[in-house]
Amino acid sequence: MTGAAAPAPASTVLVRAAIYTLLLIFAVYYLLPLFVMVVNSLKELNEIRQGNMLALPQQVTIEPWKSAWSTAQIGVQPTGLRPYFLNSIMMVVPAVAISTLLGALNGYVLTKWRFRGDTVIFGLMLFACFIPFQIVLIPMARILGMIGLAGTTPGLVLVHIVYGLGFTTLFFRNYYAAFPTELVKAAQVDGAGFFRIFGRILLPSSGPIIVVTVIWQFTNIWNDFLFGASFADFDSLPMTVALNNLVSSSTGVKEYNVHFAGAIMAALPTLLVYIVAGRYFVRGLMAGAVKG
């Protein structure tokens, strides 16, 4: 070796170049729809009508965004998406928080306070992960009616908590299974009770799995269309259903630029959650796999 860095053989460089080119093509391919959405949401409607979807806007305008947010026709009301965005937030935040917390509690009990028949109960909860949405629609509608929550945001919150509990329990149970039981015993000897052990010992060590669960639940609940369309009333419709109503309203002209802007708005929160917490997602999913 004479130089500081030996020159790589030509074949390695070629392979590298090929790999990167391929990756670049894939990246462009996957980003293309987003590009089309963003570009067209910033165009005037007649510019879109000229037909070139991929072209950059000749004149940038944020009118479609304003319209989608506050004035567009949703169903019969010209309210824009704003009230429905708030509906979705009011639904997602408590649903994610409560289902995550309950999942953590379930996982804690199923691994650290085991009782006769706990595996059967866990198996039944797992079963909940595989039940198709459609099957629960009618029984759920009956129950919501019976307890007086039909057509309300709290009703939707309840539906999403119940449906998500199987997943959140699964996540936390598997995470806590690898959590040393001796720590729980030590805390017992130290005088901590059931909830103190949970709050002071287990939860502070659950960061990665909480992130995984929150991302999972947030994306699923935010993106849910079926439950929203089935159980919500006009004043509790979530964003996804409202977006559908915006796009498929049959009166007047199709305002593609407004539709694009609305679709981006509907996708933004999940995108944000991924960007903020995404790096924990992979880390959290792998955490239980290697150790224990």
Binding site: E182, L183, K185, D190, A192, R200
Partner: protein, 371 residues
């Protein structure tokens, strides 16, 4: 009345009986070691004392108070776990103070107690660190600090040294012993290491299959094992156990030990040994520790009854301080511990001096000691 009393304790998991009628007692300031092979129930027994496992039958009393129904935190005990079980999300100081915090001790008092304990254990420098930043020995100390800070009536140790490397283990062993002497605490200690048991205990309970095989002082356990299991389990290298025939010769009792070459060797037994005399003509198991079988010059001069047996030495293993000599006697490998400078060559005729004062005899069927 003893400080820690365990009476007729039984523990069943379904149909499996893991603890069978355990009776133990320990004085205040005593050091009880529960020792036995894995699966003998020693950790389960410790957990029942701690209150982490329920009791199926029987009673546990600490300082005269029945604790069966009490939660672990109400029993006034502290426990050191095998994995140390330090709370990973707390600093060392928080770990040590956690038990006090749970008991509602005011902050200033907690901090003073933590400082004191940290000084005793020489971990004052580490108080701000997290468990993941500590070495194994340091974690061990923190775990002990967490137990010490509460000043409980009884300390429970569950194989606390088994995760340390050999050298550190010996150091920590000494330290635990010193701590016990200085603080006068009452300790129950579980281990599978019989050396740890011998060095630390004031009393030992040897367990096997959920039963106490023998309960007594280390000397008693070592020198007068109650049965073959205890004799074999305690001591390293373990006691020589060979089958011999009891014979009467010239009005005295002796046992005949088969030799690979030539006549069986006759080992005379003190005539006061009545139990053995009654078994003339039968086979018994002779148990004799390697250190009671030496070269002639190494034999105990105070021994009343030393018998010489000539035999071929098969293997010679010098360890530096001693030389272990293995011979075929009674049809089995027989280990003798000779002085390091004893003149023994492998495959040569060697004279072994048996100190028969220290011999034990067991019934081959019941495996209990008869003499």
């Amino acid at each position: 009345m003893a400080f820690l009393e365990i009476r007729n304790l039984c523990k069943r998991f379904g149909a499996a009986e893991v603890l069978k009628r355990i009776d133990l007692s320990l004085e205040r300031g005593g050091f009880l070691v529960l020792v036995g092979p894995s699966g003998c129930g020693k950790s389960t027994l410790l957990n029942t004392i701690a209150g982490l496992e329920t009791v199926s039958e029987g009673e546990i009393r600490i300082n005269g108070r029945r604790v069966n129904e009490l939660r672990p935190s109400d029993r006034d005990i502290a426990m050191v776990f095998q994995s140390y079980a330090l709370y990973p999300n707390m600093t060392v100081a928080q770990n040590i103070a956690f038990g006090l915090e749970m008991r509602g001790v005011p902050k200033a008092e907690r901090e003073r107690a933590v400082r004191e304990v940290a000084e005793t254990l020489q971990i004052s420098r580490l108080l701000a660190r997290r468990p993941s930043q500590l070495s194994g020995g340091q974690r061990q100390r923190v775990a002990m600090g967490r137990a010490l800070v509460r000043k409980p009536q009884v300390f429970l140790f569950d194989e606390p040294l088994s995760n340390l490397d050999a050298k550190l283990r010996v150091d920590m062993r000494t330290e635990i012993k010193q701590l016990h002497l200085n603080l006068g605490t009452t300790i129950v200690y579980v281990t599978h290491d019989q050396v740890e048991a011998m060095t630390l205990a004031s009393v030992i309970a040897v367990l096997k299959d959920g039963e106490v095989q023998q309960f007594g002082t280390p000397e008693k356990i070592y020198n007068e094992p109650a049965n073959i299991f205890v004799a074999d389990f305690m001591g390293s290298p373990s006691m020589n156990l060979v089958s011999v025939d009891v014979v009467r010769a010239n009005g005295a009792t002796a046992v005949a030990l088969a030799r690979a070459d030539g006549e069986p060797a006759l080992l005379q037994v003190a005539d006061s040994n009545g139990a053995l005399r009654e078994r003339a003509g039968q086979s018994v198991i002779l148990g004799i520790r390697p250190e009671a079988v030496t070269d002639i010059d190494g034999a105990d001069r105070h021994a009343r009854n030393v018998v010489r047996v000539a035999c071929i030495a098969e293997v010679v293993e010098p360890t530096g301080s001693d030389t272990y000599v293995v011979a075929k006697l009674g049809g089995r490998d027989f280990v003798a511990r000779m002085r390091a400078d004893a003149d023994v060559a492998p495959k040569s005729q060697t004279v072994f001096a048996f100190n028969m004062d220290r011999a034990a005899f067991f019934d081959p069927k019941t495996e209990l000691r008869i003499a």
